[in-house]
Symmetry: C2
DNA sequence: AGTAAGATGGCAAGTATTAGAGAAGTAGCG
DNA sequence: CGCTACTTCTCTAATACTTGCCATCTTACT
């Protein structure tokens, strides 16, 4: 762990010269530069990032806050965010809130303490006020955190419409919506839009609510079994991917024919939706684009590159499958 | 962004006193302490972590290196690692190598530059020598990186045995193994053990190799289709979860009855293996324990709490399912 | 009252680096 | 030869915090 001082001594120059030689800033003669590089190599010198960070008051780290890393949507999201951040020279710190709002708060505090240069949050356990207290760069996915905090999300409303059209086309009459519990997120818009269209067309729509952002297959499965008991006569289900997959699984186990007797439409169209047979019919979010846009918006703020729009809505499409 | 100096001025004391008052070290009278705390609150003082890090020469960050965050095994692993690290007061930085060994190298460099206090690596694109150059804390999952680097993994050999026993019990005669491409990882042991037992019992075993640690469902699916064309008469498949799921999916599409005509056994038994119908029969790794053990081993090194064993092998069990 | 122990807090060094001021040296040109 | 311009490099301040050392003040005891 040689320091810049030792390198300077070894090369017989001052520390400033070493700094300039190695960073390529300011005047350094070719010979001295060579001498310094030799000394650096000899001593296995690597600059201490911590001192650098202190001076520049930045770490090049971005915090990414999600409710559950093991949920297919969030693992895909974080993966793409990480890769995009890497492209732009940043590192990714993750926070798996697991529904604990204290953890979300702690990451906000880390912003304050300069540990991270910015935050992308897709976890929504805190009140908007907590976020509004912050002045440093934050970008929110799928929930409006008020002024100064850009919001990125997909077009949930259109997704709900697409699903509704599909249900209508299949002449479904008694449809169930399984929605998430979080009250203030954009995801709810898809169910509102879905239900509105179906009701306008005389379809009976019922709604069940379940905790969705903690991924626990057992819970989904139990919920699906419960659903089939409580609603034996429904002919359509619209919900997030995982709940839809659980319903599909239970339907298959019970011998309910999908899609003949029951249409199931998911939302997200993440990897597992393609693994089952038949493939799940689902509204697809472009996670890759979502990640890219989120990162670029955040870095626009961090590096003050330009003004960013407060709200960015990305398109969705229907992933054809065999369940609707 | 008030600094400690401003707090000291506001409270009318020296900076050292503020530091000691807020950290609870050394003598500070109750009144001064109260005064300092009031000043700190008034100025919204939050200590700059960067300066702290520089002084202590640590960041409290652990780097976690995986080939693909969106692979169900790695997303589960990282999730549990993150949660365990959090419990112990550390933060998690992730690196999704995506098979690019340069990225793996860069994380090793970050160790050198003091950006992270230690590394847990489950990605294996670099030569052992690169790791041996390092003197700072590293823990490896599923690959032996030589002396000084603890190795954690599950009992792949036993997993292979369990699968082999199941194949024998089902009287399978022509079995295919789909293994990964990485030559030096422990995962290969499961296939060696599996094949050895089957061959000893007179079963024909063939082997196909595919790139496995980059998760791409399309590729798995294509590979599975190819497999069914090339080996139309096999009656057993043993492979990682995802390849197994792809084979199950193709089998169902082709009308091959599972498990009557074809036994499929996976390895890992991650979430998607439970989502399909019938549930995939698969060897289950205890990812949660794997994460816990990896973190504790690493932190033993980081904090020099105690000597750590060089090799830790965790038990596996068979997840019963409907495909074997 | 004098002394010593104990309490309290200020000062400055240390942490590794960068940037900017300025010193020292060289060369070109009139 | 002297002035200017330019190159080259050193030195110091600054970044924000922690901590050891020392100075000062209080209190109590003799």
């Amino acid at each position: 762990m040689a320091s810049i001082r030792e390198v300077a001594q070894e090369a017989g120059v001052g520390v400033g010269t070493v700094s300039r030689a190695l960073n390529g800033s300011g005047y350094v003669s070719p010979e001295t530069k060579k001498k310094i590089e030799k000394a650096a190599k000899k001593l296995h010198y690597t600059p201490n990032e911590l001192a650098r960070n202190l001076y520049h008051n930045r770490t090049g780290i971005v915090g990414v806050v999600v409710p559950d890393l093991d949920h297919p949507f969030f693992s895909a999201l974080v993966k793409h965010i990480e890769m995009e951040l890497y492209e732009q020279g940043y590192k990714t710190m993750i926070c798996n809130t697991a529904g604990i709002s204290r953890r979300e708060q702690e990451y906000l505090d880390m912003l304050e303490r300069n540990m991270v240069d910015g935050i992308i949050t897709a976890s929504h356990g805190l009140e908007v006020e907590e976020y509004q207290k912050q002045t440093k760069p934050i970008v929110s996915i799928d929930r409006d955190l008020g002024a100064r905090i850009p919001l990125i999300g997909c077009d949930h409303e259109k997704g709900g419409e697409l699903a509704a059209r599909l249900m209508l086309g299949a002449r479904r009459k008694k449809v169930l919506v399984i929605s998430g519990i979080a009250p203030k997120v954009m995801a709810n818009d898809r169910y509102t839009a879905f239900m509105k269209i179906l009701k306008e067309n005389g379809v009976t729509v019922q709604q069940e609510v379940m905790e969705w952002n903690i991924f626990n297959w057992e819970a989904y499965y139990k919920f699906a079994e419960e659903t089939f008991r409580s609603y034996p006569d429904i002919d359509g289900i619209f919900s997030g991917d995982l709940a839809a997959l659980a319903c599909l699984n239970v339907a298959q186990r019970r011998g309910v024919r999908v899609p003949e007797e029951l249409s199931i439409i998911g939302f997200d169209a993440m990897a597992p939706s393609s693994m089952v047979y038949p493939q799940l019919t689902a509204v697809r979010q472009n996670v890759e684009l979502l990640a890219e846009v989120s990162v670029n918006t955040l870095l626009d703020l961090v590096e003050q590159r330009k003004n960013v729009p407060h709200r960015l809505i990305l398109d969705v499409e229907m992933q054809p499958g065999g369940t609707a």
